[in-house]
Amino acid sequence: MSFFTIVIRGLIRRPVRTGLTLLGISIGIAAVVALVGMAWGYEKSIGRQLDVIGIDMLVSNMSGGLLPKVFDESLQTRVTELPNVKETTSVLMLMLSVEDAPMIMVSGREWGGFTWDKLRVLEGRMPKDASERAVVLGRMAAEGLNKKVGDTVQIEADELPVVGIVDGQAVVENGAIILSLRVLQEITANEGKVNFVDIRLTPKTTKDEVARLRERVKEIFPAGRAMEASDVVGTSQGFQIARAMSWSTALLAIIVGVLGVMNTMLMTVFERIHEIGILLAVGWKKQRIVTMVLCESALLGLLGGITGVALGAAGLTILGLTTHLHGLLEPDLSPKLLLTSVAIAVVVGVISGLYPAWRSSRLSPSIALRH
């Protein structure tokens, strides 16, 4: 018999209670996996979108709101002249309420710019030129708005025909309404304004050159900055809010888990006062009893964590496969998230066991034996 056998025996003596506690932790950890997995997945899809389009860097003013502030489109010319910049294109991206959709991404793109290149037409066609007052819909936006080629979409005061449905190979692209930059500037009274200058770098640009480029952008555009794809996600307020919300909901789930395990471990200690008295009488050190209680609660956490990760991952995967959400969710079930979740569960277990362990260490053997 090993010490571990004693720990296990402590847990299986009350299988129903242990099972219910495990279920409680599992649900908490499943919530962590699901919420954080979704948030991370969304961030990743943004990063991938930039890769798919072939954007190496972008210039914007991320300081306020969910989307960057607009600035004068003449900045593009100055950015294009900087070293290591192969080509640039301007974008005006807005979050607008369009018909039944309370918030949808509307992306106005400079006609002829490389951001149009990777859009694959599924139905209909692309706009004919920079001035055609027409839109193409990402395939998920078309589903969400319930539109097909030939219908119209009302953006602000204007009704624009849908001339095509496109696949943009990334969630954000597929969820957007895409049109010519000039048209979007006109209908939203943003003439001459954009909020992104997307950059393609010359091949073999080094990290040092990227750093120098950032500095040069800062010189010509003090309010904004040049960012790489990974920075975009890190600095966006929208992502920070989404991240904070997912983690704070997860934290609530964790607190519920802590209380559940603590309750179980306290019950276990109270119920076993007599046995703890016996262990003390036969010479067990208080430290060993504390270790035993902590190991039991950590093991509860570990098992709950593993089950929770499995539940959360399965739930997210199933959710992503449902027809309604198909293609909308790209959960990030990376080993990092799964391991972090299990680690959180173990820490939850240990923290929950601290007070019961302390209580057990305070027992007097003579009193405990009379219990």
Binding site: M1, R9, A281, V282, W284, K285, R288
Partner: protein, 239 residues
Amino acid sequence: MMEKGSPDSEALVYEARGLTKSFDGGSVAALRGVDFHVREGEFVAVVGPSGCGKTTLLQLLGSLDRPSSGTLTYRGKSIANLPDPSEYRAREIGFIFQAFHLLPTFTVVENVQIPMFEGGLSRSERAGRALELLNDVGLEHRLKHFPSELSGGERQRVAIARSLANRPSVLLADEPTGNLDSENAAHVVELLLRLHKELGTTLILVTHDLAIAALAARTVRMKDGRIVEAPVSATQTSR
């Protein structure tokens, strides 16, 4: 009160002077100034009516509780206020209780191994020694049984095997036959006597049963928290 037959100071396992123990903030006095000694390898019976302080005395000797005042030494060293008595209990003492106090969710062989976790033994050494001890008490056929599947006499034999787990030099037995019928009680007493003789273990046994007490080398009688006499009976003198 001074116990009769004062000890030679040499080879004393226990020596208590003016030992008192009160409960409930001093309103209940369980021991009222006990002077007591036990020599190496001795078999001492402690007798007296219920509530006279026998069990309290045994708990102080085993460091399961602390005295309110007085001195208590084990082999010349004070054990009255050990900051961590677990090592003393693990290495020096084997406890046998009236209510057996076995762990119900562990098998016989596991119960015997429980104290060995503090004995610095490997897993296989623990298993080997537990088998050896259970052979000694005649329970080699009950290894995988749980305490609830055993008779009272068998449970007490498991408890005796467990008390010897770390090869202690002192056995403290608190009414070990109190929950047993006469036949099982006789077997348990016989076993304790045999182990006491074979292993040379000091045995301090608390009992109501004067017939069992008569088997001891010395009997200490208690009443109202004091030692009232420590007679050396005719049979005991002849030992």
